[in-house]
């Protein structure tokens, strides 16, 4: 988290993803728009099933179609990634946009050595010969903090701990100097001390390389530490987005406020936890109108149930999709 150089690298507009299922169409991503600048960290937060992973996979052509159907635009340089051929998308994924996933064990190939998995992409996309690729692999492993990297190239994934495997995944992601790194819950399976190492690592790399980072998580603590800007997702929509300080200081969407209020905070054990009653909606049966109204403490009238609120500026830097803003937390919690 620090100032970034401002050049726009990614522009997402009205992205939608639907899946055909036996129960009917699942409306998983419902028109999200955001931008990402070079050197910036955008955090996407939201609960399980809110569409964080699917919307990010859709950016780089990794949503299988069918059963999926992706519409909208994802502007990356001259291209619209939504309409690119699979050939072009493969090129973008190999050279420009890298993605790291939650579970490093399933995303690494268990029967290939770490060295092989690192050099494969480089040889393909950067046309490096064996020796140059090996040298770069050692350099990258060193960069992500694997001790004696030259001796670890011949090892297999199971010989590495969870934290080390996630470092290897990051090294693979960085192999081709990406412009954008999408990190999908890269620390969820890790212990807090290891998580702290990985968070620090990605942030250092962002600062050094100027890449833009999209960090997907449900952990509002992690977000506070790394994000420049935050987008809160609920039922496939962005319900609130703001600079990180503004979001935590004055959350305006009732859902954002509920999430922040439900967290136990280290050092404040006496505070009673607020709860959000009920459950998130099923994407096959989304409520009409605002997706949050069945759980919303602010709901006032039928408008919430019939009309979908669009993101609008509150004048304090928050963009909020709600007709009725939540009061400041101090007034709302009695």
């Amino acid at each position: 988290m620090t100032g970034h150089n401002g050049q726009r690298v990614l522009e997402v507009h009205d992205l939608q993803v639907r899946f055909g299922t036996r129960r009917g169409a699942a409306h998983v991503v419902n028109g999200i728009s955001y931008t990402l600048d070079a050197g910036e960290t955008l955090a996407i937060v939201g609960e399980s099933g809110s569409g964080k992973s699917v919307s990010s996979l859709a950016l780089i052509g990794l949503v299988p179609q069918p059963p999926g159907r992706v519409t909208g635009t994802v502007r990356f340089g001259e291209r619209n990634l939504v309409t690119c051929s699979s050939e072009e998308l493969r090129h973008v994924r190999g050279n420009d946009i890298a993605m790291i996933f939650q579970d490093p064990m399933t995303s690494l190939n268990p029967v290939l050595t770490i060295g092989r998995q690192l050099t494969e992409g480089m040889q393909l996309h950067l046309q490096l010969d064996d020796r140059a690729a090996r040298r770069r692999a050692i350099e990258l492993l060193d960069r992500v903090g694997i001790p004696s990297p030259d001796r670890r190239l011949g090892d297999y994934p199971h010989q590495f701990s969870g934290g080390m495997r996630q470092r290897v995944m990051i090294a693979i992601g960085l192999a081709c100097d990406p412009v954008v790194l999408i990190a999908d819950e890269p620390t969820t399976a890790l212990d807090v001390t290891t998580q702290a190492q990985i968070v620090e690592l990605v942030d250092d790399l962002r600062r050094d390389t100027g890449m833009g980072v999209i960090w997907i998580t449900h952990d509002l603590g992690v977000v506070a530490g790394i994000a420049d800007r935050v987008a809160v997702m609920y039922a496939g929509q962005i319900v609130e987005t703001a600079q990180v300080d503004a979001l935590y200081e004055h959350p305006r969407h009732p859902y954002t406020q509920g999430l922040l209020g439900s967290l136990p905070v280290l050092g404040q054990p006496e505070r009673e936890l607020a709860t959000i009653p009920g459950l998130p909606p099923d994407p096959v049966h989304l409520p009409s109108g605002c997706p949050f109204w069945p759980r919303c403490p602010q709901r006032l009238d039928e408008r919430c149930e019939t009309e979908r609120p669009q993101l609008r500026d509150t004048g304090e830097g928050n963009l909020v999709a709600t007709f009725y803003e939540a009061k400041p937390a101090s007034e709302a919690v009695s």
Binding site: M1, E47, S48, P147, S161, G162, G163, M164, D191, V192, T193, T194, Q195, A196, Q197, V199, E200, H218, D219, L220, G221, V222, V223, A224, G225, A227, V244, D245, Y248, G258, L259, L260, S262, L263, P264, V265, L266, G267, P269, E270, E272, L273, A274, T275, I276, L279, P280
Partner: protein, 347 residues
């Protein structure tokens, strides 16, 4: 938490010791080596001494693989102790046959991390909740259905749900069923093994508040296992921090949070991300070097020394014991007299 009278009702025997644990160790024999021929001992739990007081919540925190679940299982007699003793309300759990343990087991229960795996998918939730009653021969005949309805209501579920199957419920609802099942036999002591780790944040708060309410209403004693320090600090009265099969620090929740003594506790606290951007930016993290050592081959002396930022001469040589430092018990040569053991129960 605002209702002071019910808090003190739940914790009225706060100074009575319900559970005593003395030098508890659980080792697992494992096969290793290239041909899987060598036998080694995996020291999952290696010498724990602590007590749980009636009506309190003792938090047990530590990172993956440090032995928290194994400890919980051993306290209930579900995992055999290799060494040491567990005494529940004056009666020995360790070294007692399952059969003899049964009357005691009725007074102890466990809530598991995974509300999916811990319920039988082919049983209705009513059957699952009634199962412990059948095992212990409680609430016979027509009374049993009434008891099941009462338990479901207690955890905030409609008794009408009793004929449904687990797959029809969300994670948070399943966890409520798991809690109802654990409370069926009216236990005094409940081991909560990461009861909220697999749930969404908005649902975690619902379950934490529920556990808190049940404790007050039923006077329960909890061992609350988690790797999430902020959740533990919210619910626990005292907290024990584990590292590689040992307790490295034990203190009341507030003291542990405000003035951690053991270098591992400090590192752990400093790694917990706070949902507050201003504080997060100012905070200095203590990053630990390297990875958790293998419990097959723990380091000599203090087993944290390989990653400890404050290690000094005695650490590789002498195994620190829990000693009193202010109101904390700490196993670290920086605190107390090197090599001098202390009676943990004398606290």
């Amino acid at each position: 938490m605002s209702d002071v009278s019910s808090v003190s009702a739940g914790r009225r025997d706060a100074n009575k010791v319900l559970l005593e644990v003395d030098d508890l160790a659980v080792w697992f024999p494992v096969k290793s080596g290239p041909l899987r021929r060598e036998k080694e001992q995996l020291r999952a739990v290696d010498g724990l001494t602590f007590e749980v007081r009636s009506g309190e919540t003792l938090g047990l925190v530590g990172e993956s693989g440090c032995g928290k679940s194994t400890t919980g299982m051993a306290l209930l007699g579900l995992e055999k102790a290799t060494r040491g003793r567990v005494v529940f309300d004056g009666r020995e759990v360790t070294g007692t046959s399952r059969r003899q343990l049964r009357p005691l087991r009725r007074r102890m229960a466990m809530i598991f991390q995974d509300p999916y795996g811990s319920l039988n998918p082919r049983r209705t939730i009513g059957e699952s909740v009634a199962e412990p009653l059948a095992i212990h021969g409680l609430y016979k005949g027509g009374q049993r259905a009434g008891r099941v309805a009462e338990l479901l209501r207690l955890v905030g579920l409609s008794p009408d749900y009793r004929n449904r199957y687990p797959h029809e419920f969300s994670g948070g609802q399943r966890q409520r069923v798991g809690i109802a099942r654990a409370l069926a036999t009216e236990p005094d002591f409940v081991v909560c093994d990461e009861p909220i780790a697999s749930l969404d944040v908005s649902i975690q708060a619902q379950i934490l508040n529920l556990l808190d309410r049940l404790q007050r209403e039923l006077g329960l004693t909890y061992l609350f296992i988690a790797h999430d320090l902020s959740a533990v600090q919210h619910i626990a009265d005292r907290i024990a921090v584990m590292y590689l099969g040992r307790i490295v620090e034990l203190a009341d929740a507030k003291g542990l949070g405000e003035d951690p003594k053991h270098p591992y506790t400090r590192a752990l606290l400093s790694a917990v991300p706070l949902p507050d951007p201003k504080r997060e930016r100012q905070r200095k993290r203590i990053l630990l070097e390297g990875d958790l050592p293998s419990p097959l081959n723990p380091p000599t002396g203090c087993n944290f020394r390989t990653r400890c930022p404050d290690r000094f001469e005695p650490c590789p040589e002498i195994d620190p014991t829990l000693q009193k430092a202010d109101d904390h018990l700490v196993a670290c040569h920086l605190h107390g007299v090197v090599g001098e053991p202390v009676d943990a129960s004398a606290e």
